[in-house]
């Protein structure tokens, strides 16, 4: 085998060997799903799909109201975000979902996207939830 091919092989196998440690770091820091990203953590943790809801504030409204009748394009984007969040944890943000909602609802001034994620605490074995909220106004997205 040539030197170049040997180097490629060693590089690829080294990456394959070390990647699970990198993936575990991503799980610890960003709540990435242990089952995902090729770290071979399947069956290592219970896994729950996140619950995502969208609330909007229309021009003239004083508060936010949850949208229950999203258009098909927005529902598709919500599903895409939900699946990405399930796998990537906090590495995934709903910016595109907010864009779709703004595009489809011209009278909406602000959007709040709420994500509820369940997790069993390994110490207490109790099921808990964590809520993340993402706020967007028509001009610039912010957390």
């Amino acid at each position: 085998m040539t030197d170049a091919r040997t180097r490629i092989l060693i590089g690829a196998l080294t990456l394959f060997t070390l990647w699970p440690a990198v993936q575990m770091t991503l799980v610890a820091v960003f709540d990435v799903n242990a089952w995902k990203l090729g770290g071979y953590g399947m069956y290592a943790t219970p896994s729950f799909r996140p619950e995502v809801s969208v609330a909007v504030q229309r021009a003239g409204d004083s508060g936010f109201s949850v949208v229950t009748n999203l258009a098909q394009e927005q529902r598709d984007e919500l599903t895409t975000f939900s699946r990405a969040r399930f796998a990537l944890g906090r590495l995934s943000r709903p910016d595109r979902l907010a864009e779709r909602v703004f595009d489809g609802m011209p009278n909406v001034q602000s959007i709040r996207i709420r994500v509820v994620e369940l997790r069993i605490d390994p110490r207490s074995a109790m099921l808990g939830s964590r809520e993340s909220a993402f706020s967007y106004s028509r001009r610039a997205p912010s957390r």
Partner: protein
């Protein structure tokens, strides 16, 4: 190190063990498995409800035609050197297409087909390196799976298995190990915040949980050494069969069994090609709803 891992002691008759035959059988089983898993992936996996055949469309048929053509090329002695890299590219497409929800078996399929495509196993040296690389990847997967279970901490007190008690995969089998009132308690949870504890008063379940966790670490070490390979493969096959039957999830198990058979000194995997083919045909017939879906994949 790879050459050492890919080397086998000569058989009792003194002849070099059949690495070429084993690798070719591995390749054939892998390629047919890739056709099946690509078909399953392109057909929407298990997301679609029964009776929904909307996945049979132009892109799906084109994907299948390309996959079938590549597979035919891989099985042909002359065309394999061109077709195998093509198969690796196709598998990369599957990995990227399903990202970020790509299943671990898809990453592993890509690693295996990438290695097989990378080598031209005509010389003893290349065969030894390929065998060593495939074995190394298998050991890494086992070891990583064990480390993950240890690190996340859901196995010491049996929390993961307790959570699975009311789930269709492991649940029915595990509930034999747990007092009925504990099963009823877990079943009473609606899986909302505040439920728990997901921990049950069952020594057998806790022992099983810890054993399953440590087993993967131990077996990774046992597979690395010639003397302990045979019992390790045997025990692994049993472990895989039990867990995959309980989980009703076979794609990973079949792929991994193919890799495990490479640790044997004989060409036993050649004799099992027919069994693997039967499984692949079965999976496709299930997806086409010509057979009942008694398992997920």
């Amino acid at each position: 190190m790879l050459a050492k891992l890919g080397g086998d002691a000569p058989s009792r008759s003194g002849s070099e063990s059949g690495a070429a035959g084993r690798l070719r059988a591995f390749e054939i089983i892998l390629v047919l498995h890739l056709v099946t898993s690509t078909f399953w992936w392109a057909a929407g996996g298990w997301w679609l409800p029964t009776g929904d055949f909307s996945w049979i469309d132009g892109p799906m048929i084109a994907t299948l035609c390309v996959t079938a053509a590549l597979a035919a090329g891989c099985l042909h002695p002359t065309w394999r050197t061109i077709a195998l890299p093509g198969m690796a590219v196709l598998q990369a497409t599957v990995v990227i297409g399903a990202f970020p929800e790509t299943a671990n078996h898809s990453y592993l399929e890509f690693a295996f087909v990438g290695l097989v495509a990378f080598f031209q196993p005509r010389s003893d040296e290349e065969r030894r390196l390929l065998l060593g690389a495939l074995r190394w990847v298998t050991i890494v997967v086992f070891f990583s799976a064990g480390v993950q279970k240890l690190a996340h901490g859901y196995y010491f007190g049996g929390e993961f298995l307790a959570f699975q008690l009311t789930h269709p995969g492991f649940g029915p089998a595990l509930s034999w190990l747990v007092p009925a009132e504990e099963v009823a308690r877990i079943a009473g949870y609606a899986e909302v915040a505040g439920d728990g504890p997901y921990r049950v008063a069952s020594l057998p379940l806790v022992l099983l949980s810890n054993a399953a966790c440590l087993w993967e670490l131990v077996v990774a070490v046992l597979l690395a050494f010639q003397r302990t390979r045979f019992p390790a493969v045997l025990l692994c096959a049993v472990f895989l069969a039990v867990t995959e039957v309980m989980a009703r999830e076979f794609f990973f198990g079949v792929l991994f069994l193919n890799a495990l058979l490479l640790f044997l000194r004989t060409e036993f995997n050649r004799r099992l090609i027919g069994v693997f083919v039967a499984f692949d045909v079965w999976v496709m017939l299930v997806k086409l709803e010509l057979l009942p879906a008694v398992i997920t994949f």
